[in-house]
Amino acid sequence: MELLQVKNVKKVYRSRLGGQQFTALKKVNLEVSAGEFTAIMGPSGSGKTTLLNIIATLDKPTAGDVLLEGQSVKTIKDRELSAFRRKNLGFVFQDFNLLDTFSVKDNILLPLVLSDMEIREMEARLYPLAESLELTHILNKFPYEISGGEKQRTAVARAVITRPKLVLADEPTGSLDSKSAAKLLDIFAELHKNGQTILMVTHSSLAASRASRVVFIRDGQLFSQICRGEESSSEFFERIVSNLTVLSDGGVDIG
């Protein structure tokens, strides 16, 4: 059974006054198996963030369903959603979303503290992780004292410290310079190698070329997808770029 199943998901936004309707997702089907590193690409406004938010249970689909390990998220009560999210999902956002009142260490520990874990076990998880993400020397600093790359690595640490089934990332390299972005992608690749399932939205073909599969989305619909197979990253990169050209033949510009 697949780890994640997105079944016929449709999303219609209603404007506040109720008049205008906008269909952001038409009918999306997507499956992600355990251990996969999937990238989602598509033009701006195509519904990538909307899809990710629905998978993340931050938003509800108008129709269709999302299943994690066969369990429909619809069956989860609203009150238990946050605990479900904390246990099963990890998030990385473009704008980091760190809490400015917490040190780097406390930001990373936040989800564990919310689960009332023993401090000893929290620290046992924290230090090796901080070491591998090169955060050890800044653990006691505050978000405003560190660079964008360091912020994003902190966010990644926070996302994976709960050992989630699925890590969701929305343009994680969007706010980073190329060097920091490359470093972050190395980290994602490393996580993937260790068996972590990752679903990443990105505009960057280079970023997508590190994934094992790329899904293209356009006008609220899955357009096509390509798998890496035995190719190297650079070969895969070429294929992604040519696919994007096909995608943008409709006159849509890709970032």
Partner: protein, 664 residues
């Protein structure tokens, strides 16, 4: 860019920032109208015409000076909060390419519009409510004063305009200065929100605790009214920095100690609260400390003035156990007494007053003689300097009585009794409960005319009755070895009945005419003093109420501005916490908890201050011969409750704004 451009920009700025400007505007209107009313009450002819007019306008005169200062300081203060909330906007102007002097001109017009508007509306409100307040004041002063009508004096307009003109200049200069200081890049950058190490936290906190302890200790150990008056100001001066230090450094230190304790800190129920509080306290500590101090001041002022106002009769009845007393500094001879009686009869007939009771007696007065009655022994109080008194007698004050002396013959004559005394024996005439009396006391007599008057009992007095003049003088010299001349005095006591207003006129005339006799040294009546007293304390009560309104307005405004600036920050934090997997309810609960703590901390601090100041308030009131402890306690308690209710109400109102910002 012409003037109209800046003018229009100013108007659109005001409109856009109405969430900030309207509260500031309302506060300015309230302050302008109150100031206007105080000046109007001080100068209006209506007040000058009423019987206690002089003392009322004296009180308002003093109040007016303090009020000018306080209004100016507070306007300045709330303006600085307003400007802090708008710094980002000014930074944006810089980035958009508007020069600093251009921004300066916009600010000039903004302030001009707001302050002029507030001034005009404030004077209008003052004109409307002034009449109402005037009528209330007359009612409080217990004068019907048929002739007094409220006419607005020109001074009210000119003084208020002058004060707000000065405030306008000050505020505009300050705001210009703030804009000049601003570096646009700094402003657009997110504020630094983490935890800067507060330096010297431990010694500073210890200093704060020490100062607070010192002030509290002083307040608790004060044991006389004079000392209370002297040391109250000192205590206030100490409490202000102590409060400020403890709110800033102290709270930070406490929270950081909590944070160091990993077992405590890394619990879901404490984690967010502690770090959130560290951040909030750092942002708000000074504002909170000033709210705490203002609240304490309101509580002290209001409870003090209400106690004095409602305890007025109590003070009067102690000073005037009987309606009218006329004293002479020598014995009053039958001839002199006759002259007085003649005068009284004539005036009473003229004014249609009935004389209920009248008697004259001669005695050795107590005003010069305080005795200590301790363990069954009388002893004198003899000191050369204030320091000596403090050292030798301060702690004995609870044993001190005002003692006067009278012969048995006079005593029997006035009371109509037929007591007798053998040589060396004395009576003590008093309503006090004496624990132990000297052996030669034949009896303690209570409830005679001397101590139970028509209106009440004098405070802590004993009248010593001895067999005859010689025995009296012997006793006196025994207790006052250093005195050469033994004073003697005469007193005429008068109780009357009749129409209140007529009695007042009668008493006035009688006192004036009696003072013309050369043997009369002083003459006083409960009626004339009551009018004066209500003038002073009623005036004080009104000022107290005015100050309270101003203090509360400022408090509300500071709290409101804080809620707004925090609401915006919290909205961001709220959504992050949700994403990370904290459920909505828990987020709301923890943020709520923090806001409650931060909001009610000043109230809590003020209550503690008042608790410790209680004894000092009681003692200070004693300086006004006010000894009614239960009433004082009741007034303090009621003031505190009333204030707390208003405070909670303010919290509810501002919390609504906050929740709208966070969009819960």
């Amino acid at each position: 860019m012409g003037r109209s451009f800046f003018f229009r920009l100013a108007i659109s700025n005001i409109r856009r920032n109405k969430r900030l400007v309207i509260p500031f505007f309302i506060a300015s209107v309230i302050m302008a109208s109150i100031y206007f009313m105080v000046v109007a009450l001080m100068y209006t002819d209506g007040i000058a015409n009423i019987p206690a007019g002089k003392s009322v306008s004296d009180v308002f005169n003093l109040g007016c000076i303090i009020m000018s200062l306080i209004v100016a300081i507070f306007m300045f203060y709330i303006n600085s909060f307003l400007i802090k909330n708008r710094k980002k906007e000014f930074g944006l102007y810089g980035v958009l390419g508007l020069g600093k002097h251009h921004v300066g001109r916009v600010i000039f017009w903004e302030n001009f519009l707001v302050i002029t508007g507030a001034l005009l509306l404030g004077m209008l409100a003052g004109t409307v409510f002034g009449r109402l307040i005037f009528l209330l004041l007359l009612f409080a002063l217990k004068t019907a004063a048929a002739g007094s009508i409220f006419k607005l004096p020109a001074e009210a307009f000119s003084y208020t305009s002058l004060l707000f003109g000065i405030i306008f200049v000050l505020i505009t200069l300050y705001n210009q200065f703030q804009v000049r200081l601003v570096n646009p890049v700094d402003l657009l950058k997110a504020e630094q929100m983490g935890e800067d190490k507060v330096r010297f936290a431990v010694p500073a906190t210890l200093l704060g605790l020490f100062l607070l302890g010192l002030a509290y200790w002083k307040a608790l150990t004060v044991d006389s009214s004079i000392a209370a008056l002297k040391e109250f100001f000192l205590a206030v001066i100490i409490v202000i920095p102590a409060t400020a230090i403890l709110f800033t450094t102290g709270s930070n230190l406490l929270l950081r100690i909590l944070k160091k304790n990993k077992r405590f800190y890394y619990r879901s129920s404490n984690f967010i609260a502690v770090s959130g509080l560290i951040y909030r306290m750092k942002q708000n500590a000074l504002g909170l400390a000033s709210i705490c101090i203002l609240s304490s001041m309101v509580l002290v002022t209001v409870s003090g003035t209400t106690a004095l106002f409602f305890g007025q009769e109590d003070i009067l009845s102690k000073r005037f156990p009987d309606d009218i007393k006329i004293t002479a500094d020598t014995k009053i001879t039958p001839e002199q007494s006759h002259k007085l009686e003649l005068l009284i009869d004539t005036l009473a007939r003229e004014h249609g007053i009935t004389v209920e009771d009248r008697y004259t007696y001669n005695y050795i007065p107590y005003s010069q003689d305080t005795l200590i009655l301790k363990e069954g022994k009388f002893s004198g109080v003899d000191f050369k300097s204030w320091e000596e008194y403090e050292e030798k007698y301060r702690h004995l004050e609870k044993y001190m009585y005002g003692v006067s002396y009278i012969t048995l013959a006079e005593f029997n004559r006035v009371t109509g009794r037929a007591e007798s005394l053998s040589a060396g024996e004395i009576f003590l005439v008093t309503n006090e409960q004496l624990k132990q009396v000297p052996e030669n006391v034949k009896a303690v007599i209570a409830g005679t005319k001397f101590t139970t008057g028509k209106n009440g009992t004098p405070y802590r007095t004993i009248l010593i009755v001895a067999a005859d003049e010689t025995a009296l003088k012997k006793l006196y010299t025994e207790f006052n070895p250093t005195t050469r001349d033994i004073p003697s005095a005469g007193m005429m006591i008068l109780n009357v009945r009749g129409n209140d207003e007529k009695i007042l006129v009668f008493a006035r005339t009688l006192l004036n005419r009696a003072r013309e006799f050369d043997f009369v040294i002083s003459a006083g009546s409960i009626y004339t003093d009551r009018i004066e007293g209500y003038g002073i304390f009623g005036g004080l009560l009104f000022l107290g109420a005015f100050f309270t309104i101003i203090f509360l307005t400022v408090t509300v405004l500071i709290i409101y501005f804080k809620q707004i600036s925090e609401g915006l920050d919290d909205a961001g934090r709220f959504s992050i916490l949700q994403k990370v997997g904290m459920d909505d309810l828990a987020v709301k609960r923890t943020i709520n908890k923090q806001i409650m703590i931060v909001f009610f901390l000043p109230l809590f601090g003020a209550l503690v201050h008042i608790l410790f100041a209680g004894k000092m308030i009681v003692k200070m009131l004693e300086a006004f011969s006010f000894y009614n402890l239960p009433l004082t306690v009741l007034c303090i308690a009621l003031t505190v409750c009333f204030f707390a209710v208003i405070y909670v109400f303010v919290y509810r109102a501002t919390a609504k704004v906050y929740y709208n910002l966070v969009k819960w």
